[in-house]
């Protein structure tokens, strides 16, 4: 691993002599503005440097300049020019604008920070305090500021409120151990090597690539995640149901009817079920036992990111990746604390009374807050902790701008969860009724909340479900009104949804809290899975099957978890990142050798799946000749050339058109205005161009 990112020249001399300013480096523009406002009391001056906004002010006789990145502005890439070669084991760090076209602004941000670094005497890293933030800060200080990653100071905070920012800048720490940054950089390198090599291996088959509309790729964390989905999908597709019978009785006591079910919930033979019905019909039930029990239900712990994502999916149907995005926005607006945390604890150092005071000014929460303050109760704590940040909690500040629907809902969820943590345990009464009908046992349950406690604070998210118990006491009799026998079948296992898949990833130790949701989104956008109940596509299966056969580590949980554990060791200062990269690369090399050896087979399997999907996805639009078929891109079996053909070819439609053989084709949304044939965008080569596929189109200037 080498550094290709240029370092800025050291133009400033001894700070005591030059009297330079303190340069504060933030991760995001919104955070920079908040830092500047908080430290200057809202009196900072904004100016433009290289097209980016920076803030400057004086405080206690010291000059400050606050600038920001835009998330990651450096990334790893392959120094080789040739884009089709694999394996790749050599990577370098580059300004992101040189690596990704869509990251053009990274160049401006870097240029601005380099310029500002030249006049700075002191550097403060104010990026988010976690692996990604440390990586961003480390890269900025090393590359843009000219090797300042060692001498810089660190501002640590978990919310962007004025108080927290002032407190954190009042006690700046020396840039602590660099374990987080080293682990973060190693993770980027490993993920890059993993992704680039596999996608190149998968995208190359000896059969030509012209009909491919997408790049096939499998990330390091994506592989096992796709593996979970595929395993479940197989169980579903192979599933053979088996029958059972459910026997339910309707009973009557003093004119009130209630139902109870046969104690053997799944009767395995039809004959037995019928026997029970015949024996009980018209009979009398004797209540043999009514057991009442009280249970206490403790409030749920404060939110970690994973908990918040699962709960938001369960209660609000917001996908996990969207939840993180919204939470990030709420954090930047200083409404909630830093969301990328594993913690379920609110440490005593937090000023909870101040937060409660702020929330108490909102009408919807004021009653709850008053009760909490009066009772003096303390908040519940969960088991998991995070060295960098507390659990996600509200700051108690009011939104300065009205929030959109989802953001408002998510903030409400965070606030109510926080309040619920102060609530007393809820109490529920469970009633378990047992009845006997001529030697056959029937059961009924009831439940009710006798004391809501924290559930009142959690509001609609508490999901209270009460069920009236049957109106009978021990020793009483009830008449049998009817007995029904229902034929049922064992259900196939449920598909994962985004919430349950996230939970699976967490419990298997796959991915990091900050990246899991994105992995799931990528599986969807790559076309490996689709739908709300995540269904593996043919392409997804082809990829998993090829990997299981030739590169099993790619879809295995063990390797990914092992890498994750090694990286955690690096974070804690227990290991060197170079070893982790080396070990991962070695495994990748073994797996790639196997893929290489079977390139033809792998290519064929994946090609077949892509062709299958392309026959759906490659549709261009309605056929203007037969008016009932669909024009699509097909490939000649004999010449291997691609052309446009009609889906009604087997029944006689001969509509067809030649296509350019080079470049990637993407169907346009609207058909040609002149002839109503489909239009495609052709990209690759110089610049993308638009083409009506009709060779006889009146609007066509040149073939």
């Amino acid at each position: 691993m080498t550094d290709r990112a240029p370092q800025s020249p050291q133009v400033w001399g001894d700070p005591a002599v030059s009297g330079g300013y303190t340069l504060v480096v933030c991760e995001k523009p919104d955070a920079a503005k908040r830092v500047a406002d908080a430290l200057s009391g809202g009196r900072s001056a904004a100016s433009q440097v290289e097209g980016t906004t920076v803030f400057s002010f004086a405080k206690d006789g010291e000059e400050f300049v606050v600038c920001s990145a835009q998330g990651h502005v450096y990334g790893v890439s392959d120094p080789a020019e040739e884009r089709t070669v694999y394996p790749v084991f050599d990577v370098e760090w580059y300004p992101l604008n040189l690596v990704e076209e869509e990251s053009a602004s990274a160049g401006r941000r870097i240029a601005a920070i380099r310029k500002l670094a030249a006049g700075a005497a002191r550097f403060v890293n104010a990026c988010d305090f976690d692996v990604e933030g440390e990586t961003i800060g480390f890269n900025l200080l090393r590359y843009a500021c000219g090797g300042k990653e060692k001498g810089a100071l660190r501002a640590r905070f978990s919310t962007l409120t004025e108080e927290d920012l002032r407190r954190s800048f009042g006690s700046l720490e020396p840039q602590a151990a660099d374990g987080l940054a080293r682990a973060g950089r190693a993770r980027h390198v490993i993920d890059f090597l993993w992704g680039i090599n596999l996608s190149r291996a998968l995208s190359q088959s000896p059969l030509g690539l012209g009909h491919r509309f997408r790049t096939v790729s499998v990330g390091r964390v994506q592989g096992p995640t796709l593996g979970f989905l595929a395993k479940r999908e197989r169980e579903i597709r192979e599933f053979v149901p088996t029958p059972y019978w459910k026997v339910t009785g309707v009973f009557e006591k003093d004119g009130r009817e209630f139902s109870a079910w046969y104690a053997e919930e799944k009767v395995r033979t039809k004959a037995q079920a019928e026997e029970v019905r015949a024996a009980c019909r018209g009979g009398t039930a004797v209540v043999v036992a009514v057991q009442r029990s009280q249970v206490q239900v403790s409030p749920p712990p404060p939110f970690s990111l994973g908990d918040l994502q699962k709960e938001a999916y369960r209660a609000l149907r917001i996908p996990p990746s969207r939840t993180l995005q919204i939470a990030e926005g709420l954090y930047l607006a200083a409404l909630i604390s830093y969301p990328r945390t594993s913690s379920q604890k609110l440490p005593p150092s937090l000023d909870l009374r101040r937060i409660l005071g702020g929330l108490g000014r909102v009408r919807a929460y004021s009653d709850a807050v008053e009760e909490i303050l009066k009772s003096g109760s303390r908040t519940v704590q969960g088991a998991r902790s995070d060295p960098a940040h507390p659990a996600i909690h509200p700051t108690g500040e009011r939104p300065q701008r009205p929030l959109d629907g989802q953001a408002a809902s998510l903030l409400d969820l965070v606030v109510r969860r926080f309040l619920a943590g102060f609530g007393p345990p809820a109490r529920r009464e469970l009633v378990d009724v047992s009845m006997d009908v001529g030697g056959h046992r029937f059961k009924a349950l009831g439940s009710r909340t006798t004391f809501p406690g924290w559930m009142d604070y959690y509001g609609r998210y508490a999901g209270r479900r009460d069920q009236e118990p049957p109106p009978v006491a021990e020793g009483e009799r009830a008449g049998v009104v009817s007995v029904t026998v229902e034929e049922k079948f064992e259900q196939r296992p449920p598909r994962y949804n985004q919430g349950s898949l996230l939970e699976k990833m967490e419990s298997e130790g796959i991915g990091t809290k900050a990246t899991r949701a994105d992995m799931i989104s990528t599986l969807l956008s790559r076309g490996y899975a689709s739908g709300d109940s995540l269904t593996v596509t043919d392409l997804g299966f082809a990829v998993v099957e090829a990997m299981e056969k030739y590169a099993p580590s790619v879809v295995s949980t063990e390797l990914t978890r092992h890498v994750e554990e090694m990286l955690e060791g690096v974070e804690e200062g227990a290991g060197g990142e170079a070893d982790v990269v080396r070990e991962t690369v070695r495994t990748a090399a073994e797996q790639l050798a196997e893929l290489f050896a079977n390139e033809g087979e792998v290519g064929r399997v994946i090609d077949a799946a892509i062709a299958g999907e392309a026959s759906k996805a490659g549709a261009l639009g309605g056929c203007p000749v037969c008016k009932s078929g669909t024009l699509r891109i097909v490939r000649s079996r004999t010449t291997k050339k691609r052309f446009v053909g009609c889906s009604n070819y087997p029944s006689g439609c001969r509509a067809s058109a030649p296509l350019p053989q080079r470049g990637t084709l993407r169907p346009a949304a609207k058909p040609c205005e002149k002839c109503s044939w489909p239009v495609v965008y052709v990209s690759g080569g110089r610049r993308p161009w638009k083409l009506c596929v009709n060779p006889d189109c009146p609007g066509r200037s040149k073939p």
């Binding site: 597709r237 599933f239 149901p241 088996t242 033979t269 039809k270």
Partner: protein
Amino acid sequence: MKCAVCGREGAGKLCQRHAVAKERLEAAYPLWVRAYGRMSWGDYLDNVIRNVQTGPWAKEVAEALRDS
């Protein structure tokens, strides 16, 4: 060899997917026989094919077995 159900490559007469599905189908048959007292293999296949819980690969094998 090409799978008799789907035409994909496989080690035997069936591809991996349909081979496993056939195993599941055969394993469930005795449970159905016991549940209903008696059931012919043909009736069993018909029932499985009609059942909405049956997975698509199992259904495809059942159809192929019924039609063969």
